[in-house]
Symmetry: C2
Subunit: 196 residues, 2 copies
């Protein structure tokens, strides 16, 4: 890790730039400049831009899986694990207010481009969804676990979209508070869970 390869540094900068500027708006030259190498060197390591995108998605998938595994093996119960998910909005609020959610904005862009990598990128959502569904099931909500997981994903997405549009931290914090209240309502009174 002390001496990352040029290939890894390209991947790292591409990951950041695709998030900050979007996939299409990021040029080979931008990546090369960020790494401090020539354009030709970038194409030596990754022949096409699509190849970089695929590698970036794989990197994000691996990091997401590792994050979820850390949360899974953590000492807290399923409710606290779901709270960890909700609190990403707070932990990453600075970047979210500038660039939105890295998963949602990538999927939205790829959907508009009708890019074949959309199904690859949407696996990021699926990772979160399945993990969240596992937590809801562990709370005794096995039947609605998948629906609740998608619902929470959608709520997070909407918060990120509006927070980045208005660069509004107060809104983001208020919505996170409401999400925690929603979760509390689910864990304490299961019969009312579909109301929210």
């Amino acid at each position: 890790m002390k001496h990352p390869s040029t290939r890894d540094r390209i991947l790292e900068e591409a990951d950041r730039l695709f998030y900050e500027r979007g996939y299409e708006h990021t040029a080979f030259a931008d990546i090369a400049e960020a790494v401090g190498i020539s354009r030709g060197n970038v194409t030596f390591h990754y022949q096409t831009k699509d190849a970089i995108l695929d590698a970036v998605i794989d990197l994000r998938l691996a990091r997401t899986a590792a994050l979820l595994e850390r949360w899974e093996t953590g000492g807290e119960g399923p409710a606290d694990r779901i709270r960890s998910f909700i609190d990403i909005l707070i932990a990453n609020r600075a970047k979210i207010m500038l660039h939105g959610c890295p998963v949602g904005t990538l999927c939205s862009e790829l959907a508009k481009l009708e890019h074949h990598a959309l199904s690859h990128a949407s696996a990021l959502f699926t990772l979160f969804q399945e993990w969240l569904a596992t937590q809801f099931a562990a709370l005794g909500l096995k039947k609605e676990a998948g629906t609740l997981a998608l619902h929470l994903l959608a709520r997070s997405q909407g918060i990120a979209t509006l927070a980045s549009t208005f660069h509004d931290e107060a809104f983001l914090r208020e919505e996170v508070r409401i999400l925690h209240a929603w979760l509390d309502g689910i864990t304490s009174s299961p019969s009312r869970r579909t109301r929210a």
Copy 2:
């Protein structure tokens, strides 16, 4: 309206293409082809692409204002007006599942581009927000009206984002059902409104 000017036809096709393909991914040539004129003719009517974008946003603002006014002068009360807003997700589901929300996806793209038109485009959100806040205030929720309006906007955004990522109509319909239940909960028991 029977004989729209070339300028209006350019605007109409640009509006559609910016929604379907995104702003940056739409070229002058695409607009010209859709209208059935030459590229040079497009630039005769709109000198720059940014000028087209500004005109498209103005068009959307005018149409949104007209829509909200129709709902406002309609016979139903504030709760039914909010239901009209929620039901756009159903009415426009085919396009939403393909291209997402026209407001949210435009604002997300412009935020990534750091485009100066973002503040112009975000006025679309503000139109909806202020109108929704008026309805919530009319329901006797004057104090929380602004927060509730933003909350509902965020919920709609999240639904549109996931619906377009997964092209999933069942998810969209289920989430609309949950939104209606949320609204019912607010109108019937105000003390629990911030829970959802």
